[in-house]
Subunit: 151 residues, 2 copies
DNA sequence: GGCAGCGATGCAAATCGTTTGCATTTGGCC
DNA sequence: GGCCAAATGCAAACGATTTGCATCGCTGCC
């Protein structure tokens, strides 16, 4: 792995931390994964495999590698998968202490994604669990609407 | 259209109503659609195209026809599409006065689906709309867990 | 009741996101 | 420096869904 020098932009400064998180799981910090993680930390908006692929320096790696890497990163808890209802998986970087539970507001015209701070359902989960007998109840909640630009 | 006789099971008695709803939209009440609607009214659990196909009397119609029919039925508001997060669309019949807004509890092991009566978000939608500037805000909320049988 | 016309259907091929088999390369550790 | 599991590229496979096209069958109309 190339040493991360002082001269790199600040946003790359945390790369060694990410490398460690990978190595802790006996996984390699390869060029492809470096690049993918760099793209993901560039902005926190959930991104699809193709979007990530498109932002990678030309042909740095195969699309299949991105799919495989994101699976792995999801497994070790470094990214979270979001399903915004259009049949495409999206991923966002997860801080180490982050359970990734959050919701989004998606524009049904332009697909802009805004993160929402509210989550009204923790106690509802408990009630549902009690009434239904289901265990380990979680939920997925996403909002849809038309953003100011598209109105 | 073959006349619906008295001797048919009670659950078919409403078929003429469904036929009317279709015709009101200048759509035909074909054999395939009759069969699909019959399957859907048999139980209210959201069903995938393939599940519906499998329940149809052998080879009554093509799978493509089911896809096309469900699109149509969705358009005219006779069925509602559900996305339970496994990449397969499911559909359930909608009563005429029903906006179809409901949520489900899905077993992540066996895919059993239970309908949930709660919806905690109407006022949250309003708040989100006000803060974000988005219009026509709706939401999708599904719960996941492990059902008693699978535990 | 019969007919024209548009909507519906069957079939096969195309699409799209995603996964996988396999041969080859490479990062990490001694 | 060298080993070995892990990672990658490439192409083919996959599953859900869609579509082009020729044919068929409801429906409204006479």
């Amino acid at each position: 792995m190339p040493a991360v020098t002082q001269s790199l932009p600040r946003r790359l400064a945390e790369m060694p931390v990410l490398a460690d998180r990978l190595r802790r799981h006996a996984r390699k910090f390869t060029g492809a994964r470096q690049a993918i993680l760099a793209v993901l930390r560039h902005d926190s908006r959930p991104m699809s495999n193709k979007e990530i692929f498109a932002r990678l320096p030309g042909g740095l790696c195969d699309l299949a590698t991105i799919y495989r890497s994101l699976h792995l990163l999801e497994e070790v808890g470094m990214v979270k998968r979001f399903d915004l209802g259009d049949g495409v998986a999206r991923f966002a970087l997860l801080r180490e202490d982050d359970d990734g539970h959050r919701h989004h507001l998606v524009c049904t015209r332009c697909a802009e994604v805004v993160e929402i701070e509210e989550c009204c359902t923790p106690e509802v989960e408990k009630r549902i669990s009690e009434r239904s007998g289901f265990k380990a109840v979680t939920h997925r909640l996403e909002f849809f609407g038309i953003c100011p630009t598209c109105q």
